[in-house]
Amino acid sequence: ASAQETIKVGVLHSLSGTMAISETTLKDVMLMLIDEQNKKGGLLGKKLEAVVVDPASNWPLFAEKARELIAQENVAAVFGCWTSVSRKSVLPVFKELNSILFYPVQYEGEESEKNVFYTGAAPNQQAIPAVDYLEKEEGVERWVLAGTDYVYPRTTNKILEAYLKGKGVKDEDIMINYTPFGHSDWQTIVSDIKKFGSSGKKTAVVSTINGDANVPFYKELANQGVKATDIPVVAFSVGEEELAGIDTGPLVGHLAAWNYFQSIDTPANEAFIKEWQAYTKNSERVTNDPMEAHVIGFNMWVKAVEKAGTTDTDKVIDAIVGIKVPNLTGGTSEMLPNHHITKPVFIGEVNAEGQFDVVWNTDDLVPGDAWSDFLEGSKDLEADWVSKKCGNFNTKTGKCGGQAS
């Protein structure tokens, strides 16, 4: 097929460097989805063609590669990024060149852009339900908020702190701790957590520890004998992929909050897992939440393109809001006017097989909230790209563009 007859889709995930560990899988899943779509006859009668580049966990390179994808390769949409900073880095490029980015990872919120669709969880779709669960189900009264020192944990913890204090938790019952990226020596912190948790009040750890640092953290927890029954840890960045590197025997019962778990027993999920394992020719390969986000995002984009009858950016952006696609856990996710989607929230407990057993889930799908209700600067903001054509509409002043005029 000649160039005109294909629709190009950009895949912008790090295949090398520190983030490769997480992002490579997402590249594979995109290739699989595109493959599958082509088997179904492509899109608008054309074949889809994946354009894969490697931004190498290097943030400026993300911007460069995004530019290359959009300007040089003329891709119709890009699926990519993992870290917030990579998203922030490509954002101006997408705005300038007016293209579409699907961002599949849970993040700190506080953003809504015309050109970006956030298919991962906003804080209200992950953090808050998890805390609610711990409080109700486990009777937790004392909280350790441990995170890597960057924006996502900072924001999440800030939201949680405000939320917990609002519920009457006292200052001395909250311990906040930040560590550098790739922190590998957790002896002191784990023992601090143990100390903090020995006050008699039920204590839990809310972990926004990122990436590589999780494995040594959990290994240390296991070694110092911090059991889930004593001090449960609920994590927002630990999924099936991360657990694959750890012996989960001693970690049984620790928790994670996600919008998807591989263990969720639905026909759609079963089919997806099967296909994935067949595609990667590895019956051990696990699936995880950001993968599902890509599945949802991709399906939404396909539907939107079909609805608009074109891959033209503006038309697709208009068409996609309101589109509903089934997710893998049995519900139907919808693209909201704030460019976030509705998602179910699940709390899972680590089991000995390295999977999660769902112990709680929301009854309904939770709509993603771009601007947190618990933060001073953003509680008055609202994103609506349909009626207000604005990502940061201030409900107080009634104007688009934050607080000022």
């Binding site: 295949l15 090398s16 894969v52 580049v53 490697d54 931004p55 190498a56 290097n58 943030w59 400026p60 390179l61 911007a63 460069e64 590669k65 530019r67 290359e68 959009i70 300007a71 040089q72 870290t83 917030s84 900073v85 922030k88 880095s89 954002l91 101006p92 490029v93 300038e96 506080e110 953003e111 020192d149 960057y150 924006v151 900072r154 924001t155 800030k158 550098p180 990226f181 933060l375 001073e376 600067g377 953003s378 903001l381 990502g391 940061n392 201030n394 563009g401 934050g402 607080q403 000022a404 005029s405």
Partner: protein, 379 residues
């Protein structure tokens, strides 16, 4: 040779190419219709501009490493500081157009609950002030750092490692959200510079031309330094530091002078880099970045200035190209490039070329005397 021409054969070619590029590239981008064979597409302009900034960084490293034997594994820090100074100016230019619409505070400060602008952000709304800071901040850091280190006669790997410690410490510090530099996300989403939109084609073209000019002038400045008697003293210091002292030269002052100059050039490179790539974040301080910059110099040819720039270009073009063309295997290609260059082009690309074409009058990189490994400055 008692005197060396300021501009040698390679320098002349280099300056000519740069001057031509500064004019022709923006012209081909703006004035020639897309579709024409001579059109330079939009995305290439900031890309090449970025390479030019890297080339300037490489030259600044070559000045101290190639000529004075100071292997700085932390030069990325000066580059990043220059970048941050520029980034801060650009952030202040956003004004009330941030997502929260705060009249003064940048977005990240709003949601991290900063009440006022931290003191070190003051003044950055002025372009002039920011430009002074671009040179001053790296310069002062280099001065303070160098003052202590050179006076204490920290040399060789010990110096390399503490420069690395310096950049590493700065990276960790800038990662901290409390520092007020945007933490891991850094500074981004710039709107305009001196009233011109950073995304406008014309602004890009001007930035490009400025980068080319800065590179050219930076080169000439370094060239002036290395061809003067000061340059010879530097080489003497590189060869036999203590012997130079016995001739009456205060080695530490010489080192300090070029170190500061080099840091300021690196800062300038960083400042030009930021508006063209659109983001500055703490990962620019990462030790690996600094090491990589040293590697550009080695690839191009240590002690040749032009070679350093060439090395930066070759490696980065290679990187841009490989990451798109062979995303899964590019590290093999890049790694192999480094190995091949060391094995087959022992003096780097330009050094080897010079040998091949007969050498012009320039100080050559020192092949370390046998056995005198870095670890053993003895003998």
């Amino acid at each position: 040779m008692l005197t060396v021409k300021l501009i040698d054969r390679y320098g002349a070619v280099f300056i000519a190419v740069l001057a031509a590029a500064a004019v022709i590239v923006p012209f081909c981008n703006l004035a020639i219709e897309p579709g024409s064979a001579f059109h330079i597409p939009d995305y290439l302009l900031p890309l090449i501009g970025k390479y030019l900034c890297f080339a300037l960084l490489a030259i600044s490293i070559d000045l101290i490493w190639g000529y004075c034997g100071i292997l700085s594994l932390g030069h990325g820090a000066f580059f990043a500081l220059g970048g941050y100074a520029m980034g801060m100016y650009l952030m202040r230019q956003i004004g009330p157009r941030g997502v929260y619409g705060h009249p003064i505070l940048p977005d990240f400060m709003v949601f991290l609950n900063f009440q006022d602008l931290p003191w070190f952000w003051l003044g950055f709304d002025s372009f002039l002030f920011a430009m002074v800071m671009v040179l001053l901040v790296p310069g002062v850091l280099a001065f303070v750092f160098g003052w202590f280190a050179f006076r204490s006669r920290v040399t060789g790997v010990y110096l390399s490692i503490i420069t690395q410690a310096m950049t590493f410490a700065l990276m960790l510090a800038f990662f901290r959200n409390d520092m007020g530099f945007g933490g891991n996300n850094g500074l981004t989403d710039f709107k305009d510079i001196l009233g011109f939109s950073v995304q406008a084609g014309e602004t890009r073209a001007v930035l490009f031309a400025l980068s080319a000019a800065a590179l050219g002038l930076g080169y000439l400045l370094c060239r002036y330094v290395v061809t003067s008697k000061l340059g010879k003293v530097l080489v003497a210091v590189r060869d036999a530091e203590s012997r130079t002292r016995f001739l009456g030269y205060r080695v530490e002052n010489y080192k300090l002078a070029v170190f500061v100059l080099s840091a300021m050039l690196a800062g300038l490179a960083g400042a030009l880099y930021v508006p063209q790539v659109g983001i500055i974040n703490p990962s620019e301080f990462a030790p690996a970045n600094s090491i990589e910059a040293v590697i550009w110099v080695a690839v191009g040819g240590r002690g040749t200035l032009v070679g350093a720039a060439l090395g930066a270009l070759v490696v980065n073009v290679g990187k841009s190209w490989f990451t798109g063309a062979i995303p899964e295997f590019w590290l093999f290609a890049l790694g192999a490039l480094f190995v091949v260059v060391t094995l087959f082009l022992p003096k780097g690309i330009l050094g080897t070329l010079q040998d091949y074409l007969g050498h012009p009058k320039a100080a050559k990189p020192a092949p370390e005397p046998d056995g005198a490994a870095v670890a053993h400055p003895a003998e």
